[in-house]
Structures are given as C-alpha cells and as structure tokens.
C-alpha cells in the first residue's frame, strides 16, 4: 500500500494533524491501536486552556494562545464537515485558591509572564467577593481565583469523533487495532511493517503515538523522553446549571454532570484508580463547592498524561531518518486547532511554517 504520509497514532493529536494534511490534498494514512493502549484522548478532562501554560516558557504560552484563538472557527468548521455537534464553550475559566499566599504567588507568576509577553496576557485576579458574585455556588473557603478570558472547555469525545468523521470524509485511510512492529528506510521513503503483517509504503511518517513514543521514538532516531503522569477524574450525577465557567478542578459539562479532577501522580504505566486519591479529589472539590457533598458520583476513571521532561510539546524532525517527525504534547485538546491548521505546514516544510525550533529535542541537551 502506498501513501504520502502516515501518522502513527489516531488520537486527537494524530487526527488533528491528519485533518490539516488532508485539507492540503495529501493521501494520508492513520494507524491507530486499540482500547488496551493508553489513550489520553479518551481519558482527558476536556479543558481548552491558556492560563498556567508556559509560566516559565513564554514561547509555549504564545503557542497555546495562538491555538486557542483558532479554536472557535476550527470547531465550527468541524461541526459542519462532520454534521455533528461539539459542545465547546469559551467562557473564560478559573483556578480557585484556598489560601492567600498561593493566590498571590500565582498572580505574581501571571504578571511576570504578562511582562514577557509585552502585556498580551489578559488575566484577572478575582477576590472572594467577585468570585462568589460570578459563581454563587463557590463556598467561603475559596479566597479568590485567577481568571483568563479565553479559557474554556469542550467535550473531548465529541471532538475526537468529529475529527474522525471529517478526516474519513476527506479520504483518510484509517487502520485500527494494529501497532508498528518495525520499518525499512531506503533514504527516501519508509516501508512500515504493521503487527497484522501489512506493509505501508510512505514518503513521510509522523509519530503522534502519545506514550507510545517512549518505545517508538528511539526507532526513528528520537529520544523517547515521554513519561506517564496519572490523573484521576470523578463525574457526578446530572445537575441543573450550577457553574458558569470551568476551572482546573471542576467543570460542569453541557449535559449537566460535574467533572472533577485532577491528580498528578507519577506511578508509571498504571491507569487504575485509588481510593485515597479519589477521596482527596472529592475533599478538595467539596472545599471549593460545598453543596457537592449532597451529590452522588456516578463514574470515575484514571488516565495517563503524556509528559515531556519540562511539560512542553516536543516537535522534532528526525535527522537520522529524514521524512520522520515526532509530535508529542500534554495538551492535545488545547492545541488541536494549531495542530490542524499550523503544524502540517511545519511537517511539510512549507514557506509559511510556524517557527517551532523552541520545541525541539535539543533543549534537553
């Protein structure tokens, strides 16, 4: 089988890239694994988020701002292309604080970042009165919140679904339930061997396999520096509208449930849930929104984030195997619009490619 470009990984990152490449008229193949793989696209919290990204890396903050600025049009187009609704609200979002020192520290970090971004970082700090005016169900233990106007949230499963429908409508060759077992390279193109025995001949390869890059990265001359970080998520029964805007730990989805996160656990390749972390997440959530203690949980899960050593995306072209590129990031949801509209230009080496040198692997030298 011949194809122009093969993307290894059919999650939101891989399909966002495929979406953009298909629009430029290329013949695109996506290889996806199965539900026994760690699939961040199916386990994530669903924030489309700017604040707190790149506090010490203005380049990353800028890239995220650019991605989120493209989001509303990106989602509208996807809805049209896939004839399906995607729940996305850019309402602005919060991080809640339970003590003054942490709030002041975060406000200082945001203010420093704003200076580095020539003033383009329109965050606000809401005091206790303001946040309770905005969110009447937030309790008295919350001393304040940071607010960023472009933050929002999306149903990540609807996004994934719409991306797949849209890509297929544009002719995507979508191969599921397989993994890459190896490849031959003739200096110009790749012969990718799949675990089901199939071989794909392709000029280019994009490795967008999430945590799979740990093993697959080194095969293509990359460093394989991704590590899992577990997050556990709780979901409540459906409620009438009780929150206006999402936050890092609480969001009310459009169907009414409250989704509660998030833990950050370094426990290796283990996406199980634990009672102690579940309890800690619930305790923090009820400290922020006391009436949650009246509400039943109906679902919970653990999932693994895809983390680079510094938490930033890695965009790297292979010097060992020209034609292969590595794309990996923690924030595949927030960056989806940029991955569809801008990243393909970088992958193809177009004149109008964004400059992504900052995100190469050489920063880990």
């Amino acid at each position: 089988m011949m194809t122009d470009i093969t993307i290894i990984g059919g999650g939101v990152v891989g399909l966002s890239i495929a979406h953009g490449l298909l629009k430029s008229g290329l013949n695109v193949t996506v290889i996806d694994g199965s539900d026994t793989d760690f699939r961040a696209s199916r386990g994530n919290f669903g924030l489309v988020w700017v604040q707190s990204k790149g506090l010490n890396h203005p380049e990353y903050a800028k890239w995220t701002q650019q991605a989120v600025s493209l989001y509303p049009d990106f989602v509208s187009r996807l809805e049209r292309e896939a004839s399906t609704a995607i729940s996305y609200q850019r309402t602005g979002g919060y991080e809640y604080f339970l003590n003054e020192e942490s709030l002041e520290e975060r406000a200082k970090q945001f203010s420093d970042l704003r200076d580095k971004l020539s003033g383009n970082y329109p965050f606000e700090v809401f005091d206790q009165q303001r946040i309770r005016d905005e969110e009447p169900n937030i309790g008295p233990r919350v001393v304040g919140a940071t607010y960023y106007p472009d933050d929002g949230h999306i149903n990540p499963l609807q996004l994934l679904h719409a991306l797949l429908i849209s890509c297929k409508a544009m002719g995507l060759n979508h191969i599921t339930g397989v993994h890459l077992s190896g490849f031959n390279y003739n200096g110009d193109s790749f012969a990718l061997k799949l675990t089901d025995g199939r071989v794909i001949n392709t000029k280019r390869v994009v490795l967008a396999a999430g945590l799979g890059a740990k093993k697959l990265g080194p095969m293509f001359g990359f460093r394989g520096l991704v590590q899992p970080q577990r997050g556990q998520v709780l979901v409540s029964e459906k409620l009438p509208r009780v929150l206006n805007r999402p936050s890092l730990t609480l969001r009310q989805v459009n169907e009414g449930a409250i989704q509660i996160g998030d833990s950050k656990e370094d426990v290796g390749f283990d996406d199980h849930q634990t009672l102690d972390v579940t309890a800690r997440i619930a305790a923090k959530a009820t400290a922020i929104m006391p009436s949650l203690s009246n509400v039943r949980l109906v679902r919970s899960w653990g999932a693994l984030r895809v983390m680079s050593p510094d938490g930033l995306p890695i965009y790297q072209a292979s010097s060992k195997f020209p034609g292969a590129t590595l794309v990996t990031c923690h924030s595949g949801i927030s960056l989806a619009a940029a991955h569809s509209e801008l990243l393909p230009r970088w992958i193809l080496g177009s004149d109008d490619s964004p400059n992504l040198d900052y995100f190469g692997e050489k920063r880990f030298d």
């Binding site: 169900n137 029964e237 459906k238 409620l239 009438p240 009780v242 009436s291 009246n294």
Partner: protein, 92 residues
Amino acid sequence: MTNNEFSFDGQAVPFEQGMTLASALILNGIKSVRRTRRENRDRGPFCMMGSCYDCLVSVNGEPNIQACQVEAKPGLVVESTPSEPRLGFKEL
C-alpha cells in the same frame, strides 16, 4: 396498601420478596420511570445492574436513586425523579 406493595407516583406496585424496585416496576408494566431533562424523553430500567443510570427515581423523597439497586420494601414511596433536584445549590 398490603404488606408486599410499594407505591410509584401513587399507584400500588405489588412485588415478591427479594425483588428490586426496577424488577417490580417492569413486572407491573411500568416501563418509564422518569423523563430526560433536555429532551423530555421517557427513561426506564435498562441495564438492571447499576451501570446505565437510566432508572433514577425518588425514594421516600430522596432523589436520583437507581431503582435497580434498591430492594423493594413494603410502603416505600417511590416517585418519578423530579428532573432537576437542587441538592442545596443556588440557582444560576
């Protein structure tokens, strides 16, 4: 009401010992126990094992109880769940 009946929205529902509310409701021909809040569609017991959350009812005034997870007892007052119980939250 006799010893082996509970009520559902005022209607007597007979049951045999050991049945869940959901089993007894279905056996008595009651398929819809609530309506959805967004599209006002009928919902009733579906999975019968606590997973689908479609069989939510109020039991003795407590909302959002899974009918398939509660054993039927004489005299229980079961009602179709009000679509939006407030649970102590302020209205937005």
